[in-house]
């Protein structure tokens, strides 16, 4: 069944399709945004309504030729002149300098390459050059990969709808654990050179580079290695390959500049995009074999469960703004008259951290995976030495160890740990309850503190879970059993109704500690 009954208005785009489809939205022939109709839409009038993303709304005042294409297809399922808002002008999704913008997969506004002149892409070329040089300084031979390589080899230009540049390298190691260890080392060395980075997996990370025009651009660096006669490259490649097809690296021209590329680009692109890579074919979809995904996921992935959902949430500046400290932290303050320090695990905007540091005058550490979540709070209270925010990934044990070491050095007992709406914000695949329990054991061992956990147990119709973008209701047994397995003693467990009347969402509060004479905590949790 095709996509039918498309309607476009100020609220969003409505369409009907019995199967899930990805739709590309073009304004005056230029792709602006893509969405999944079922995943991103709300069931409405027999179809689905996908609201305009907040990041696009500011532009939606005027007229445009709006077309909708099923992703990969050139046939429009909708192509009409539409008016949004009240203005008479053409809608232009551009930045202050007039550069074309589009939304990326996390609905963030990004500069795309489409329509960019050589002058416009020069800053990105500088960034690619800089990152390849930086990799060289730390002993790694980087090269253009994926779409960036495809654009260079096909026509010497960036591919229009892309917004990032992809780089790769091939390790001299063949054991996945060694490849991961090397990737950690590269990231650390780049940090020492002054680069900001963010890790995707054990084998890939992003380097954030300030382009010469002042904008911040992320370049993805995918680690690779040879093993069993196969090239493995993070992302989606595992294919029979010989080392001499890779090294010594050759060069290719991209936007008039020379960059390193694999020795045999034909073979490399064939294993990336299939043998028909030379001919642009929008309908062609290269499927990563399941065995490849399983291998790469098994060896390297698992540290970003549910991250996309939170990328999207914090892409909206107004998300979870305003309001004061949580009821939980007020309750904690009542329960803990001898509080020595406070750690908020998954602190979000950081209001509870600020409350503890300011009102109670104790050292307070806020931990969240999203730097941008607490940035405002951090800068507003930069002078307050009792308040500290760290980026922290609950799913990475190295982060646990760094926080445990810092806590032992700088945060006096009695330490109170808070984890409000953390385990219900990460899908069960990430095992957030087990990871939280391990962290609790490391930070509150030997009776040095207590852990307060609050999470959703009943998804009501009061809008509470949606407002906080919670992902799931959690069985209290999941949390309790994980805590017990990590050696915790459960001190209390109680339900809390969020709103009055029927249909209220319900949360559960669990308080636990790790007494010094209690059961074994399992040494690995305190690494």
């Amino acid at each position: 069944m095709p996509v039918t009954d498309v309607r476009v208005d100020d609220e969003g785009i409505r369409a009907c399709s019995t199967r899930e489809v990805i739709l590309d939205v073009c304004f005056d022939g230029r792709r602006i945004w893509s969405f999944w109709l079922h995943r991103d839409g709300l069931a409405r009038e027999g179809g689905h309504l996908v609201s305009w993303p907040e990041s696009l709304r500011a532009f939606l005042d005027g007229t445009t030729r709006l077309s909708l294409n099923e992703h990969g297809s050139e046939t429009a399922v909708y192509d009409e002149e539409v008016r949004l808002g009240t203005a008479e002008r053409r809608i232009a999704v551009v930045d202050k300098q007039g550069n074309p913008l589009a939304l990326d997969k996390d609905n963030r506004r990004v500069k795309t390459f489409a329509g960019r002149s050589a002058e416009h892409v020069a800053p990105l070329m500088d960034a690619i050059d800089e990152v390849i040089r930086a990799l060289g300084k730390v002993g790694i031979e980087g090269f253009l990969a994926y779409g960036t390589l495809l654009g260079a080899v096909r026509g010497g230009r960036l591919i229009g709808h892309d917004s990032d540049a992809d780089l790769g390298y091939v390790s001299r190691h063949s054991e996945p654990a060694d490849v991961v260890l090397e990737s950690f080392r590269i990231q650390r060395d780049l940090t020492a050179l002054g680069y900001r980075t963010t890790r995707y997996s054990g084998g890939a990370f992003k380097i954030l580079v300030t382009e010469s025009d002042g904008s911040l651009r992320g370049l993805d660096v995918f680690g690779g290695f040879m093993r069993d006669g196969h090239l493995h490259l993070m992302g989606e490649i595992r294919a029979p390959f010989q080392r001499e097809w890779m090294f010594p690296l050759g060069t290719a021209t991209l936007e008039g500049r020379e960059f390193p590329v694999p020795a045999d680009t034909d073979r490399f692109l064939s294993v990336t995009y299939g043998p028909s890579w030379r001919v642009p074919d929008p309908a062609y979809k290269f499927e990563t074999p399941r065995s490849t995904t399983r291998r790469l996921s098994g060896w390297f992935r698992g540290i970003r469960t549910s991250r996309k959902e939170w990328d999207r949430a914090y892409a909206v500046g107004s998300f979870d703004r305003g309001g004061g400290p949580s009821d939980l932290v007020r309750w904690i303050a009542d329960q803990e008259p001898d509080l020595g320090s406070f750690v908020d695990i998954g602190c979000g905007r950081g209001r509870d951290v600020a409350a503890m540091a300011q009102r109670h005058g104790v050292p307070a550490l806020g931990l969240d995976v999203h730097e941008r979540s607490f940035r405002r709070q951090e800068s507003q209270h930069a002078e307050n030495t009792k308040m500290l925010f760290w980026t922290f990934n609950l799913l990475e044990r190295r982060h646990h160890a760094a926080v445990a070491a810092y806590t032992g050095l700088a945060l006096p007992a009695r330490r109170v740990l808070s984890a409000r709406h953390l385990v219900d914000s990460i899908a069960v695949d990430g095992e957030p309850s087990a990871r939280l329990a391990e962290l609790g054991a490391a930070l509150a061992q030997g009776g040095s503190g207590r852990l307060y956990v609050e999470f959703l147990t009943a998804w009501g119709d009061d809008g509470y879970p949606e407002r906080l973008r919670l992902l799931r209701a959690v069985d209290p047994e999941e949390v309790e059993s994980a805590l017990r397995a990590a050696g915790a003693r459960i001190l209390s467990r109680e339900p809390v109704s969020i709103s009055a009347g029927t249909g209220s969402s319900v949360t559960c509060r669990i308080v636990a500690d790790w007494p010094s004479t209690g059961p074994s905590t399992g040494g690995e949790a305190q690494a």
Binding site: V180, G202, G298, N393, Y406, A527
Partner: protein, 74 residues
């Protein structure tokens, strides 16, 4: 005995497809468990070499610098 031989034997012995599917799913899960150890080993090795060994030989101020430095490189 190869997997092929074992499959043939299982089929001859009348083992149902449902049983085989269940066993394959279990085996796949077990393979992934083994693969998962790679990331864990790398994390722990990194911790030992970058944090624990230097920690054992530093004074308090150096230790704090080390911990903060380690965190910034994550």
């Amino acid at each position: 005995m190869s997997i092929k031989d074992r499959l043939s034997r299982a089929v001859r012995s009348g083992e149902s497809c449902g049983d085989l599917e269940r066993r394959v799913a279990e085996l796949e899960a077990e393979v992934q468990e083994c693969r998962n150890v790679n990331l864990r080993v790398a994390e722990l090795t990194d911790l030992v070499t970058q944090l624990l060994v230097p920690l054992a030989s530093g004074d308090q101020e150096k230790v704090r610098e080390l911990v903060e430095g380690y965190h910034s490189g994550l």
